[in-house]
């Protein structure tokens, strides 16, 4: 048998225009932050990429005040059609600088450049295009004749889709007339700071967008600041609960997009090969660092053996390694800390008696990598069936009847997403009505569009992002 080795096809890291130092962005200027600078790593090599200035309490105060001034003096007074022009301009600038942003995102986050190039960056641009279109049509959004912006939005985003989550937060906020103070994640601040440059390029009025890098303390300061009218957070359920406590009793509006433990339900009449692709996409896309990841596969018992055999073959073809290589399917885990969490949970799966299968793919010696792993024989009582792993680890459970599938799928405190695989349309509708999840995908998984609202319920949070419904989170209707 002939072996065909794909030659390395790396994107050049020079495209990222990486600078030695980055600084917070307040009132239209890059400023020296008062916080201790942080060093951001390339998780694929463990090398320091850049030093990033962080904010302290007085920077948060200055940013919120700048956002307030911008809100009152310019942004909220601009006609929607004028706001739209800025959003269109930002969207086009993201497209123009797409390659730079993709490579930078990959360096800072560890995700394969294939994904940052084909998913993160284009979808981020799409969010700005989509919301630009709404800016002058808010009276027709079904939220009353003259919905008003809320004021200053304090936004805290995670490290799994740094620029894309920024777009999900900033695009609707600006379209609806709010101004923004945003804190990117500690481990992935770089594309947000290039986005700040894009705001300058677009001549966005100073103070409309402020970016404050830093750790959780900066986020906590921002959320607690009395000048903030609206808090939007995407991240862990644990931090989400802290934020909800912090804003309780204040007039602040809140939306939370938190964790998940989504069930991907495969019936015996499913299109099996595409279900396998959907399962792979559901759990191994972005190394499983996806809040809506299909981390629990619920397979009908009559088809589980065939499905697992196909799944293992398919997973063994996934290419793990240098995230800058255009042929890499699985990149690096974002941080040593996250890698530790994944290992700990995988160990618990072994100890609790689940059967572990790991892809035989080679794993680089340096960097934070974890080979795609599939646990079969998982029971509802095991930790790997209940806790969010946030890594490339799939737990496979089985069911016998549709009722049992629904019961097991819903047997989690989370409720963000779910998938259903069957060729029977009536069963898809029956399942969608019963699955307690904000998003239910039918015969696909992890498909996103700015026009489709996204969000969860129960411990996965509340509020929607995207679509007409998503506007409501930033409007006083």
């Amino acid at each position: 048998m002939t072996m065909w080795e794909y030659a390395p096809a790396p994107e050049s890291r020079d495209i990222a225009n990486l600078k030695a130092a980055y600084r917070p962005f307040v009132n239209g200027e890059f400023v020296d932050g008062g916080g201790e600078p942080l060093k951001t790593l390339n998780p694929a090599t463990e090398e320091v990429l850049a030093e990033v200035g962080t904010a302290n309490a007085s920077d948060v105060d200055a940013a919120v005040k700048a956002a307030r001034r911008a809100y009152e003096r310019t942004w909220s007074a601009l006609p929607g059609s004028e706001r739209a022009k800025y959003l269109f301009r930002i969207a086009r600038l993201i497209q123009e600088r797409a390659r730079e942003l993709a490579v930078l995102e990959t360096l800072d986050n560890g995700k394969p450049v294939k994904e940052s190039r084909d998913a993160d960056i284009p979808t981020a641009a799409a969010h700005f295009f989509y919301h630009a279109g709404w800016a002058d049509k808010l009276s027709y959004a079904g939220l009353g004749p003259d919905p008003r912006p809320l004021g200053v939005a304090g936004q805290v985003i995670p490290w799994n889709f740094p620029l894309l989550m920024l777009a999900w937060k900033i695009a609707p906020a600006l379209a609806t007339g709010n101004t923004v103070v945003l804190k990117p994640a500690e481990t992935t601040p770089l594309t947000a700071l290039v986005f700040a440059e894009i705001c300058q390029q677009a001549d966005l009025p100073p103070g409309v967008v402020n970016i404050l890098p830093g750790a959780g303390d900066v986020g906590a300061e921002l959320v607690r600041h009395p000048g903030v009218d609206k808090v939007a957070f995407t991240g862990s359920t644990e931090v989400g609960k802290q934020i909800q406590r912090a804003v309780a009793g204040t007039p602040k509006r809140l939306t939370l997009e938190l964790g998940g433990k989504a069930a991907n339900v495969v019936f015996d009449d499913a299109p099996l090969d595409q279900a396998v692709d959907g399962i792979v996409n559901g759990i191994f896309f972005n190394q499983g660092h996806v809040c809506c990841a299909g981390s629990r596969l619920l397979a009908q018992e009559s088809v589980v053996d065939e499905l697992l055999a196909k799944l293992r073959y398919r997973v063994s073809t996934l290419r793990l390694g240098d995230p800058l290589d255009k042929n890499t399917d699985i990149g690096a885990i974002n941080s040593a800390e996250q890698l530790g969490k994944i290992r700990e949970l995988v160990e618990s799966g072994d100890n609790e008696g689940a059967h572990r299968w790991t892809s035989p793919c080679p794993v680089p010696e340096r960097g934070f990598f974890f080979a795609p792993t599939v646990f079969s024989g998982v029971q509802q009582s095991m930790r790997i069936a209940r806790e969010e792993i946030f890594g490339p680890v799939l737990s496979v459970l089985t069911f016998r009847t549709p009722e049992e599938a629904v019961a097991k799928a819903n047997n989690t405190p989370y409720g963000l997403s779910a998938g259903v695989w069957t060729e029977k349309g009536s069963r898809i509708l029956w399942m969608a009505n019963r699955l307690r999840a904000g998003v239910v995908w039918a015969n696909t998984f992890n498909r996103f569009d700015p026009a489709a609202p996204f969000g969860g319920y129960r411990e996965s949070g509340f509020g929607r992002e995207g679509g007409r419904t998503g506007l409501e989170a930033y409007l006083d209707a």
Partner: protein, 317 residues
């Protein structure tokens, strides 16, 4: 009508018309959105340097160099045979193609021109391309090809019968043709452009495999759309599933519309990752093409010389 070597479940599928129907309709469906998304995703693989040169040489060795025109002459077939032996006369290390594919009345000419080269002669048959004739005429067509010395027969299935749901008839016909082929390899053209749905393509592929086809082939090249990546994915999946079920390796041949090296490399990536590396051989994967070969030769020169040569540096045959 069962083949004795098949596993029980598959042998049972071919017992009678209704078993066959139950089996084919019991195959998992193919989700159109999903298979097209997967095909587009795999098509973004970036194949460079040594991997690309390997792919080009492999693709050349998999070409069924084809001429299927009403205007075909003995001279045209001889020209094609010469090209098949030495695709790039300036570069004798260029591998020969897998086979030359012609109409049955010209098979003898191709056999004569390719004598001793080890290059196969494939002949289309069974009232190609429509397949609309009697069984006797189709068998006579095959007999002409085989007695002329063709080593491979590319038959078309009766799409009308397939679309009417008369699977047994299609099955029987393939079996009879296979028997008539003797030692010649049988490629079964499904004409996927006329079957229209991926579900139909999968059923037709299994039907052909059950009936003994050595290859499943997408198209005649006379109907649009001809070969597409997603359709080829479905066929590659079918031969992989067949291998899992029986341990037998069967081949796939996309034909029609594959004109560039870039396209060919995308097909090879699909072969590599959907079916598996075992299929990366002319024994199990072919390209039915005419203009593809020259683009492969030009790209091969580009890889070796470091610059592009114009189309006049390869022979127009």
């Amino acid at each position: 009508m069962a083949t004795p070597t098949l596993p029980a479940a598959l042998a049972d599928a071919t017992r009678d018309e209704s078993s066959l129907r139950r089996f084919l309709h019991g195959l998992p469906g193919v989700d159109q959105v999903g298979v097209e998304q997967r095909a587009a995703g795999l098509a973004t693989r970036s194949i460079k340097k040594a991997a690309k040169l390997w792919a080009i040489d492999t693709a050349i060795s998999m070409v069924d160099l084809t001429t299927l025109e009403g205007a075909d002459t003995h001279g045209k077939v001889r020209a094609l045979a010469a090209k098949a032996r030495r695709p790039d006369p300036d570069r004798p290390d260029t591998p020969p193609v897998a086979a030359v594919c012609v109409y049955p009345d010209l098979a003898a000419t191709a056999v004569d021109a390719l004598g001793g080269s080890g290059i196969g002669v494939a002949s289309v048959a069974t009232a190609f391309p429509s397949g609309r004739s009697s069984r006797a005429v189709k068998l006579a067509d095959v007999e002409l090809a085989v007695t002329s010395g063709a080593t491979e027969v590319d038959m078309v299935i009766d799409r009308g019968a397939f679309l009417e749901g008369r699977y047994g008839q299609v099955f029987e016909e393939i079996r009879e043709i296979k028997a008539a082929c003797g030692d010649a390899h049988l490629k079964v053209i499904l004409e996927t452009g006329e079957l229209a749905t991926y579900d139909n393509v999968r059923r037709a592929a299994w039907l052909a495999l059950l009936a003994g086809g050595d290859f499943v082939k997408t198209s005649t090249g006379k109907v649009s759309p001809a070969a597409t990546l997603p359709v080829t994915h479905v066929l590659l999946q079918a031969v992989r599933d067949w291998y899992t079920a029986t341990g037998e390796l069967r081949g796939v041949k996309p034909a029609g519309g594959i004109r560039t090296t870039k396209d060919a490399v995308r097909y090879l990536v699909a072969v590599h990752e959907v079916a598996g590396p075992e299929w990366l051989t002319p024994a199990l994967f072919r390209f039915g093409a005419s203009s593809l070969l020259n683009d492969l030769l030009l790209q091969r020169r580009t890889q070796l010389d470091g610059h592009y040569s114009g189309p006049d540096y390869v022979t127009q045959d």
